[in-house]
């Protein structure tokens, strides 16, 4: 097991700790200069250009999380439930819903980037059905850009929560459902009072994965609106902000590894903290059979 552990150690665990270490130093390009304590964090959270960009990006990440939870996971739950009840053609649905998950994010991003252009497929479709006034520059308007990208991401991912929920509902003992059914419970109650409480563990898993996923959004933005989160930083997320500061490829010109590491550490603690919180809150709702 040592070959494996050494590779993981050198390329994952060591960088993680070095990242924490680096965030306490000031950097000149790629050379570490002096120990500055929490100065990088202070600049990130309070100094002028970083503060605005950081909280703007964090806000977008929150939008991502809320939209994904509300839309993607509830659609996933609905589809998973319907498939578990063997609705007509569920075997085919199960397979088709999972197709987009197997595509790489980059491919999906470029594909939908083309479709959402002002002259792209979506606008042509709206023309075709006579809804010209609904046409938009989907990725070019500040108000819409984030939502467009979130919807593309939801389009890609719905199959995943539905399969997880399907598997979870299958582990609910059939006798419980049959007993409730024979007692004459309605569909609505059957779902909310019996199935839902019993699949809370898988809801925890999906919630934690959603937290991690929406704090780490990067490729979707990169492929669809570019690294600087255009228009006017409306689609900027912590991931793209991190890339820009750490590698200095777009606006500042020179890489600022100190600030970049600080953002990395903040992502790390946010992910960890929010995951723990969501585990804690959903754990309280779990029931034992």
């Amino acid at each position: 097991m040592f070959p494996g552990l050494s590779v993981v150690g050198v390329f994952i665990l060591l960088p993680l700790f070095m990242s924490l270490f680096n965030s306490f130093f000031s950097w000149n390009q790629l050379i570490r200069t002096g120990f500055v304590g929490f100065d990088n964090f202070k600049r990130l959270l309070f100094a002028f250009p970083y503060r605005e960009r950081f909280f703007n990006a964090l806000g977008n990440n929150v939008t991502w999380f809320v939209m994904t939870m509300l839309i993607q996971n509830s659609i996933g739950l609905l589809f998973g439930y319907l498939m578990s009840r063997s609705i007509v053609g569920f075997q085919a649905f199960k397979r088709i819903f999972f197709i987009p998950v197997l595509f790489s994010i980059i491919a999906v991003g470029f594909l939908w980037g083309l479709y959402l252009k002002p002259s792209g497929l979506l606008n042509s479709f709206l023309n075709l059905i006579g809804l010209e006034n609904l046409r938009h520059a989907w990725l070019g308007e500040e108000r819409l850009a984030t939502f467009s990208i979130v919807f593309v991401n939801i389009w890609r991912w719905v199959g995943f929560p539905s399969l997880v929920f399907l598997a979870a509902i299958h582990t609910v003992p059939q006798e419980c459902l049959e007993a409730a059914y024979l007692d004459g419970v309605g569909e609505w109650k059957l779902f909310w009072k019996i199935i839902f409480p019993l699949i809370i563990p898988s809801i925890t898993i999906i919630t934690v994965l959603t937290v991690i996923g929406s704090l780490n959004v990067f490729e979707q933005i990169y492929t669809m609106t570019g690294l600087d989160g255009s228009p006017n930083y409306a689609t900027d997320t912590i991931g793209t902000l991190f890339y820009r500061t750490a590698f200095g490829s777009v606006d500042s010109g020179s890489p600022e590894i100190g600030i970049g590491s600080a953002i990395g550490v903040v992502i790390y603690f946010l992910t960890f903290g929010i995951s723990l919180l969501s585990i804690y809150f959903t754990r309280k709702k779990e029931v034992q059979l």
Partner: protein, 235 residues
């Protein structure tokens, strides 16, 4: 089963409910399939044709676009790079990962929990935070712009989940089988090779699919380590 949504013999409201839900799921299927189908159609069209008639079938099925991408734009080289990187990395991930998982699942020693936790932390920690030091390490090892760097990173990304999944499966193998093999004179490696690995074959297949589908993090890191175009993998 009694709780299945069966159309036959259901009450009228339930029939309507089933039809509505079926329509919802069916429209989602169209939403998934149509963009992909349109992408396929568009691959045979010229730019002008895509803009003027986005929904129609292509007038002729000509393969110029494929030729442009595959030969003129060097996609064959990218594809080869991806293939080399993925196959090499997967071979090592499966070898080291299954050995590591066997060690975690079956051998009791002082640090075994620690080793397991170290592997697990590779899944649970957000790796984006580690990308700068990773870049510096790769730079200090003089591996920038080499395939080896990506192979090593791919291995490191794939190993934690491999160990996690495989050790779960290996714990479920009955110990008696291993005792029997040992009585028949197998040494440790032979038990691993002849008893454990054949019994976890399905899990190995699962892990291979799970890791070979390019995950987000891997493509993320690939953007950094390739500046020279002829080494770029397709993403």
């Amino acid at each position: 089963m009694i709780t299945d949504f069966k159309f036959k013999g259901a009450s009228i409201p339930k029939k309507i409910f089933i039809i509505c839900m079926f329509m919802v799921m069916f429209s989602y299927v169209i939403l998934i399939v149509y963009p992909l189908f349109n992408m396929f159609l568009s691959s045979f069209k010229s730019n002008r044709e895509i803009l003027t008639t986005p929904f129609s079938l292509p007038s002729t099925f000509d393969f110029t676009n494929y030729r442009t991408v595959w030969i003129d734009k060097g996609f064959n080289q990218y594809f080869l790079n991806s293939l080399i990187v993925t196959v090499t990395a997967m071979a090592f991930v499966l070898l080291f990962g299954s050995m590591g998982a066997y060690g975690v699942a079956r051998y009791a020693y002082k640090a075994s929990t620690l080793v397991y936790m170290l592997f697990l932390s590779g899944i649970m920690l957000p790796l984006k935070a580690a990308i700068i030091p990773l870049f510096l390490i790769i730079k200090n090892l003089n591996l920038i712009n080499t395939r080896l760097s990506v192979i090593l990173i791919f291995m490191a990304m794939g190993l934690p989940s491999t160990v996690f999944i495989l050790s779960g499966f290996m714990k479920a193998i009955p110990l008696e089988l291993e005792y029997a093999a040992r009585i028949d004179g197998c040494n440790d490696f032979q038990i691993y090779q002849r008893i454990v690995m054949p019994m976890t074959a399905s899990a190995v297949a699962l892990v291979t699919i799970y890791n070979a589908v390019p995950s987000g993090m891997i493509s993320f890191s690939l953007w950094y380590f390739f500046n020279r175009t002829h080494l770029k993998p397709y993403l």
